[in-house]
């Protein structure tokens, strides 16, 4: 048995009141792909931040190649060959893609000068290895989440370090890109790179990993060989109880037509294609879930933004809600009309970091919490509490700042925020991004519940299985055009991917 390349010994970490990690110990063997699973807030990212020198004060010990390592910064970690892809995006939007990839380790000439040409060449190489053909001179800020995440991956790869930590690298990627990532990972492993891989997507975990470690509430639960276990067991270990099977109960019968969209188009000035969306038409009925599939950049977000009046340019076409034509030009109009949008970019467009959990949840339904113009804190608390319990949000009450919650729990808060507005139509853009299995199951059940209450739902997702389980009908976008519309019966993964590419 080879000696471990990473040995984690009784590592503990607290954040103020919350205990993120408690005496976690396990080994990582050289050259293996070691998956780490756990619910939202289990402490996965925290552990990885310690491992990569982002968090420097913690109890316990970390051994790399047998000798103790105590990093005082990310540089130290890199110097022993550890690099990380963070869960949250960390790009400088004002800099070019190449500059971002080599940020902090610029290729130089004459010791002090940036060698931009060399960096762009190298960046192009890296991006090609990810089959991504965006020109590296483009500003990172002009990219969408998905593309940005690819840049993050490229950045980590550029270090070609021997230990690579990936914290939910695929959360914003769709099948196609995930496939590319798999190929890259395979290449890396053939070079003997050790990989620590965090994901909430069971299929990925089992497809990739040799061994799986499970954390729960900051504590080490178990390490299993992927061969000798199954999703069910891992999930059970994560949640600590038998996870209810993913049977979401009977589908609610479709009611009357709520929403109708007639050839909706959105122009895209200064781009070869000329449009972001072209002649999208769809109908949505009470109690049904319409899934929208497509590759990254197919226009799913734009479509939802248009429906919600949040697109930067006004779209053309017709949007008819309950028989009345509406063309919202501001989210407030859409909200009043009975639409709700959970955005895909939680960090930028979702949370209010200066506010606490309760305030974040009640943000859109304050008028219900108010008597006239005055807010009633008790009512507001009641509203927020209802969602915390309904969505089982893992938080110490309503007062902690939202920032102290784990990614997944933040996402739940935002979903809750919109559920409180009792929408007629709920638009969910990648609602389960970075949400753990347990929470996912709950979200699915909630969505179903809403349908049975007569609410209509449009959901996009970067995970096809999710779309397939949830949707009654599935619409596929390709390059901003509507390329197919399946009923659940006819839909299959292969058909969808085919229509999307």
């Amino acid at each position: 048995m080879t000696p471990p390349i990473i040995a984690i010994e009784k590592i503990s970490k607290r954040f103020g009141g919350t205990r993120a990690l408690h005496e976690v110990s396990f080994d990582v063997l050289p050259g293996e792909l070691h998956a780490i699973c756990g619910e939202n807030g289990a402490g996965k990212s925290t552990l990885m931040k310690i491992l990569s020198g982002v968090i420097t004060d913690y109890e316990g010990e970390l051994r790399i190649d047998g000798q103790t390592a105590r990093f005082s910064g990310t540089r130290d970690a890199e110097s022993v060959g550890i690099s990380i892809i963070h869960q949250e995006l960390n790009l400088v939007e004002q800099l070019s893609i190449a500059a971002n990839i080599f940020l902090g380790r610029e290729l130089r000439w004459g010791g002090v000068f940036c060698d931009d040409r060399a960096m762009e060449v190298a960046a192009t190489e890296l991006l090609k290895s990810l089959d991504c053909d965006i020109p590296p001179s483009r500003l990172a800020g002009s990219l969408r989440v998905g593309d940005q995440q690819l840049i993050e991956i490229a950045k980590a790869l550029s270090l070609n370090s021997r230990i690579l930590v990936m914290d939910e690298p695929t959360s914003a990627l769709t099948e196609a890109e995930v496939e590319r990532l798999y190929r890259v990972i395979a290449k890396l492993r053939s070079k003997g790179t050790t990989i620590l891989y965090i994901s909430h997507k069971m299929d990925e975990v089992f497809h990739l990993s040799d061994r799986i470690t499970v954390l729960r509430d900051g504590q080490f639960i178990a390490t299993r060989n992927a061969k000798e276990t199954n999703a069910g067991e891992i999930t059970k270990l994560m949640v600590g109880r038998d996870i209810e099977s993913l049977d979401l109960g009977p589908r609610s019968s479709r009611g009357k037509k709520v929403l109708e969209v007639r050839n909706l188009s959105l122009e895209w000035p200064g781009h070869a294609r000329g449009y972001r969306l072209k002649d999208i038409s769809l109908e949505l009925y009470q109690g049904e879930v319409l899934g929208i599939a497509g590759l990254m950049g197919a226009g799913r977000t734009e479509l939802l933004e248009c429906l919600f009046g949040a697109s930067s340019l006004p779209p053309t076409g017709e949007i008819i809600l309950d028989g009345v034509p509406i063309m919202p030009r501001h989210p407030s109009q859409a909200k009043r009309a009975g639409l709700a949008l959970v955005t895909e970019d939680r960090k930028r467009l979702g949370v209010f970091n200066s506010m606490n959990v309760g305030q974040n949840i009640s943000m859109c339904s304050l008028h219900e919490a108010a008597a006239g113009p005055l807010l009633s804190s008790s009512r507001e608390r009641r509203l927020s509490d209802s969602m915390v319990s309904k969505l089982r949000i893992k938080t110490a009450g309503l007062t902690p700042p939202i920032g102290s919650l784990s990614g997944g729990n933040q996402q739940k808060c935002i979903v809750g925020r919109w559920l409180l507005t009792h929408p007629k139509v709920l638009l969910l853009d990648d609602p389960t991004r970075g949400v753990d299995v347990g929470a996912k199951a709950e979200l699915y059940r909630i969505i179903r519940g809403l349908c049975s209450e007569g609410i209509a739902v449009i959901v996009t997702s970067s995970e096809l299985p999710e779309i397939l389980t949830l949707s009654d009908r599935i619409m596929v976008l390709n390059e901003g055009r509507q390329s197919a519309l399946f009923t659940r019966e006819e839909a299959t993964q292969s058909k969808i991917i085919q229509a999307a590419t």
Partner: protein
């Protein structure tokens, strides 16, 4: 605003307001002890009145500025808006009741109309700001910087046109003057104003939305909040509050001289709100905090006057500067953290030590350096002592491993 500590007492203790009250008491007591004339004992009422008047006058536009800061903007124009409002108020009275203005008794209706008109102009300025920011798309700093220079010069142009070539407008009506500048009146007015704003920010939906916009504008827009209208509201409140001050100032100073009136006051307002716990990143801050910030700032200035005695004006800035630093640091972090924190642990920490030594040495020279021949040597000694002390601290810090650097 770290809500980590659950207990209500703990939260109170860690609240900016509480800390400000403490530090304020500290300053007052220090003044009572150090002031050789014992002014706070002998003339308590008068002293209180001085501080009160100043706090109220600053408070009016500091609150306006605070609301803008909390909602994620900034207003550099308050000083100029004050000067402009004073000028406009005067001009309107001239226009509406020329005889009365000369005679020294302006008709009440004319006065009321003039006040209303001035406040309206204030609201218009606020609208202009909101428009420049939302529709034209300028950053608030730039938009209000433009009005900072623009409005003052505008008022300077206006004055001679209306007074027939004079560079200032003298206040026409003595009774009116005494009525408008009376400290009780303006205090009551301020209390009402402050209560209203406090209600707005802490109890109403709009207030919450303003806070949200300050925290994350895009997110609040996507939550269906009309951010444009909110900005309009914030900047109108800001400008109108400055207009009120302008009217009172005109009365209080007996003349409106646009070129120097309230020059640079915008920074006082911002300083007060920051001391009061508002974050310039937006989203954080309270009305009571800002009021306490004003009180604290004005008390410090008064204390300097009392303690230093002759030539205090020269040193005022220094002391205010130091106090601002200390107060903001103190109000941002818990006392415990403050002491545990590492200040001199890195290159910057080391390299600042000589600077601090030099400063303290010179400060000693300026404050206590009577003209004795050995004064400079004393100063050098003081400087060296400070350097030594800090060096020791630096060593201790580098020993301990418990960094709480953020």
């Amino acid at each position: 605003m770290n809500n980590d500590s659950p207990s209500l007492l703990g939260r109170l203790w860690s609240s900016v307001e509480f800390k400000l009250i403490l530090s304020w008491l500290l300053v007052v007591i220090a003044t009572m002890v150090l002031d050789s004339n014992h002014t706070y004992w002998n003339a308590s009422a008068d002293s209180a009145q001085i501080v009160l008047r100043q706090t109220v006058l600053l408070g009016f536009f500091a609150l306006g500025s605070a609301i803008i800061v909390i909602s994620g903007g900034i207003d550099l124009s308050s000083g100029s808006v004050i000067a402009m409002s004073a000028t406009v108020f005067g001009s309107l009275m001239i226009v509406l009741d020329p005889e009365g203005f000369k005679a020294g008794h302006v008709y009440t209706t004319a006065v009321i109309l003039s006040i209303a008109g001035t406040l309206l102009v204030g609201a218009m300025v606020g609208t202009l700001h909101a428009w420049l920011i939302t529709s034209v798309g300028l950053p608030p700093f730039v938009a209000t910087l433009a009005t900072l220079v623009g409005l003052r010069s505008f008022s300077r142009g206006l004055t001679p046109t209306l007074t027939g070539g004079k560079s200032q407008i003298d206040f026409p009506d003595d009774n009116l003057r005494n009525a408008l500048k009376d400290v009780n009146t303006i205090t009551i007015l301020f209390i009402v104003f402050a209560l209203a704003l406090w209600f707005l920010m802490s109890r109403t939906v709009t207030g919450r939305h303003l806070q949200a916009m300050g925290g994350n504008e895009q997110a609040s827009k996507l939550s269906g909040i009309r951010t444009d209208r909110l900005k309009w509201l914030a900047y109108v409140i800001g400008a109108v509050s400055a207009s009120i001050v302008g009217i009172i100032f005109f009365a209080d100073q007996g003349s409106a001289k646009p070129d120097i009136m309230a020059r640079g006051y915008e920074l006082n307002a911002i300083a007060a709100s920051v001391i009061g716990g508002c974050s310039l990143q937006g989203g954080i801050g309270t009305i009571p905090g800002t009021i306490l910030g004003c009180l604290f700032l004005r008390t410090i200035i008064d204390a300097v006057q009392k303690i230093v005695g002759a030539g205090a004006d020269v040193f005022e800035g220094m002391i205010v500067g130091i106090v601002v630093v200390v107060a903001v640091t103190f109000s941002q972090r818990g006392t415990g953290k403050l002491i545990g924190k590492r200040y001199f642990s890195d290159e910057i920490g080391w390299s600042v030590i000589p600077t601090l030594g030099l400063l303290s040495g010179l400060a000693y020279l300026l404050f206590f350096g009577k003209r004795e021949w050995y004064a400079p040597y004393q100063a050098i000694l003081v400087g060296l002592i400070v350097i030594g002390a800090l060096a020791v601290r630096a060593v201790l810090e580098s020993r301990t491993n418990s960094s709480s650097r953020v």
